[in-house]
């Protein structure tokens, strides 16, 4: 398809969707999600399907609502005063906003990695062991040690820190800290991992390592990543969604979005004209 430029600013917003014939089954489904911070609406009727065991990237200029949407998925918005979410998000067909659902259990199923590495001011071991410990996932000490070691291995950090597990996690380099945070999220055994610009505070080498890691993790986890870097979205994701001014403008297979955007704003953004 050629780069057809469509009309923008249609009165009733319609997300442009390019179906992916090779897409994996849907794990997460958002339907008409709107978010309000007090009076201000930050997100307008976002609907999107997130396929399992793949990486979905949310891109868009600052303040477009992509992080807000990400935080809806594990209900971190609940912790913000005056924040209200409408619409529904389904994980395996179950509503995440069901009043009967315990948010603590939900966050054990949907892990999150934040923009700035935020290890606890405790030892490396304690950082990873904290999640399994509060959820009672380890039966005994050896069990816990095993979980910690495998999580660190999966996060590609074990070899670097195996001799200093008792030293503070805050003493690691930025990239190592972020991998520690990933290990910490993995240790709980989540089904979905949300990543909010996980590389924005890292140097290019650390970024490359994390990107590689994300690619490996895709085999076992459903990953949703918010990123400012279009190259990163192109490199790591299979599906891309472009947000602008609180609306989901276009979504589809990453390759399609980057090579053949159907919306003018998407094209403007990926070519660097807005953002």
């Amino acid at each position: 398809m050629s780069a057809t430029v469509l009309e923008t600013a249609t009165p009733v917003h319609q997300t442009v969707r390019t179906p992916d014939p090779d897409a994996r089954p849907v794990r997460l489904r958002a339907e008409d999600v709107s978010v309000f911070y007090g009076e201000k609406q930050a997100l307008f009727d976002v609907s999107i399907d997130i396929p399992e065991k793949s990486v979905s990237a949310l891109i868009g200029p600052s303040g477009c609502g992509k992080s807000t949407f990400l935080r809806c998925i594990n209900r971190m918005n609940d912790t913000i005063e005056g924040c209200r979410v409408t619409g529904s998000i389904l994980l395996d067909g179950e509503s995440l906003y069901d009043p009967a659902l315990d948010v603590v259990e939900l966050r054990a199923r949907i892990g999150m990695v934040f923009q700035k590495p935020n290890p606890f001011p405790k030892s490396i071991f304690e950082n990873v062991a904290y999640g399994p410990r509060i959820h009672g996932l380890a039966r005994n000490k050896t069990d816990l040690e095993e979980i910690v070691v495998t999580s660190l291995q999966k996060a590609g950090l074990y070899e670097e820190v195996k001799d200093r597990l008792n030293q503070p996690g805050t003493g690691l380099s930025g990239g190592q800290q972020q991998r520690l945070c990933i290990a910490r999220a993995i240790a709980v055994g989540p089904e979905v991992i949300l990543m909010d610009e996980p590389c924005s505070a890292l140097d290019p080498i650390a970024t490359a390592i994390i990107e590689e890691l994300i690619d490996e993790l895709r085999a076992n986890y459903t990953i949703v990543i918010v990123t400012h870097s279009m190259q990163q979205a192109a490199r790591v994701s299979q599906k891309t969604a472009f947000f602008h001014l609180g609306r989901l403008i276009e979504e589809g297979p990453t390759e399609e979005i980057f090579t053949n955007p159907r919306e003018k704003r998407t094209q403007d953004y990926i070519t660097g004209r807005i953002g």
Partner: protein, 455 residues
């Protein structure tokens, strides 16, 4: 620098530089003036603190030295004509034994112990000095006759023997020897009679009266009859009990409410109102808390007057706002990212607070608490209203016993009629109070650095 005048942009640049340079002198002058003012303020503050300490130390340190009289005391059997302390006879009932014991004690107390002191002192009077009994006894502190009696009770074999004792000289002798009373005053305005003064001088010159460390300040309770033996032990224990009550109540309640308000309570008009009122409470004059304590704890709850428990409760009310405000400030300082990390892993709010937020703020909370407690410890006004400025001549054995507190004791001593003597005692008491404060603050600093290093 070579500037060609033909180049207009360079002309502009040098003109700009000239303008900047013209203002420089003024800017530097302002900075120098400000630095000088700051330095002056610091020097003045230091000067005030230094003179405060110098005054207190200068006045208080001499109080720790008191005159003692080395004298041979004879436990004269003719004066001490009671039998030995009754021992329990076989078949004697409990009540009978107690009655006999009490009768013996009464007899012992009724003996003329003054005569024993007088006889001993009489030995020291040099030939040719006419001194009557009253004047002679005025040289020795009145409490010493009780001490002599206690010695005999503790060791009955002393009866009939002569032992050398260091008797505490009276407060008036202390004044006379240290010069806290004007030595040129006429007889009518002196506290000691002329022969007593002469005797004191003579004995001091001979070394019979010598200065020794005044343990009584630390180990004795307050005394009006025997000012030279008045001490701080009762007030110290009273303050300690109050501190205990404050720590046990104010810390958990204060830290708990701060955590609730900061981490759990929803923002609403009600919590705003509570916040404003806590801030206001911190500014309420302490005497108002004393009134509240008198009305609430003593009048309504019928708690005993002058009890460290009531004092502690009042000081708790006073300390709470300080602890709450400091704890909330500490909690506000915890980065949001730490909270998100815990919540993102599925920690409940309570787990987040107790596993991560609180450990991080512990040093600050601890420091704030100790400083709050130290402040409470130095508080006097509210104690006056709940009867803790009463004269109490015993060491409290529990928080509901009558007691006074260190600052109240200072207040009491400051108003004592024997001003000459108590001026030094008051400063000595201030030294003890300050030492306690400094010790508490040192603990705070120590714990803070310790905890911060462990982080």
């Amino acid at each position: 620098m070579s500037s060609s005048p033909s180049n207009p942009s360079q002309d502009q640049a040098s003109a700009r530089r000239a303008v900047v340079r013209a203002g420089l002198a003024r800017r530097h002058r302002t900075e120098r003036a400000f630095r000088f003012a700051g330095l002056l303020a610091v020097i003045m503050a230091l000067g005030v603190v230094a003179s405060l300490f110098a005054t207190i130390l200068g006045k208080g340190l001499p109080a720790f030295q008191q005159p003692y009289i080395t004298v041979a005391v004879t436990f004269d059997p003719e004066i001490i004509d009671v039998g030995p302390e009754p021992v329990r006879q076989a078949g004697q009932s409990d009540a009978d034994f107690r009655a006999a014991s009490l009768a013996w004690q009464r007899q012992l107390a009724m003996l003329n112990w003054n005569a024993i002191i007088e006889h001993s002192m009489r030995e020291l009077v040099p030939d040719g000095l006419e001194i009557d009994t009253r004047a002679l006894l005025s040289v020795v502190e009145t409490s010493e006759r009780h001490r002599v009696r206690e010695l005999l009770v503790a060791d009955p074999t002393l009866l009939g023997r002569t032992v050398t004792l260091d008797l505490l000289a009276s407060a008036n002798v202390d004044n006379w020897l240290k010069g806290s009373i004007d030595r040129s005053l006429p007889d009518a305005r002196q506290q000691l009679t002329a022969p007593a003064r002469q005797l004191s001088d003579q004995l001091y010159a001979d070394g019979v009266i010598h200065m020794g460390f005044s343990w009584s300040i630390l180990t004795n309770v307050d005394s009006r009859a025997a000012p030279a033996s008045a001490g701080l032990a009762g007030a110290f224990m009273g303050s300690l009990y109050m501190m205990l009550v404050v720590i046990v109540l104010a810390v958990p309640i204060g830290v708990g409410s701060a955590i609730y308000l900061e981490e759990f309570a929803p923002r609403s008009r009600l919590t705003d109102l509570i916040e404003v009122n806590i801030n206001n409470l911190a500014a309420v004059p302490s005497i108002v808390f004393g009134l509240l304590g008198a009305a609430l704890f003593i009048n309504y709850f019928r708690l005993p007057l002058s009890a460290p428990l009531v004092g502690g409760l009042v000081l708790t009310l006073m300390t709470l706002p300080t602890i709450i405000i400091a704890t909330r400030a500490a909690l506000k300082g915890v980065p949001q990212s730490l909270r998100q990390a815990a919540l993102g892993l599925g920690a409940s709010r309570t787990q987040m607070v107790f596993h991560h937020v609180l450990p991080m703020t512990l040093p600050s909370i601890l420091t704030a608490t100790i400083i709050g407690v130290a402040q409470a410890l130095g508080e006097t006004a509210p104690l006056l209203l709940i009867g803790m400025n009463a004269f109490v001549a015993q060491i409290p054995s529990s928080p509901i016993d009558q007691a006074t507190a260190l600052p109240a004791q200072i207040f009491l001593w400051q108003g004592n009629e024997n001003r000459n003597f108590f001026e030094a005692r008051t400063s000595a008491a201030i030294m003890v109070l300050l030492a306690l404060m400094i010790a508490l603050n040192a603990v705070a600093v120590f714990l803070r650095t310790r905890l911060e290093r462990n982080k």
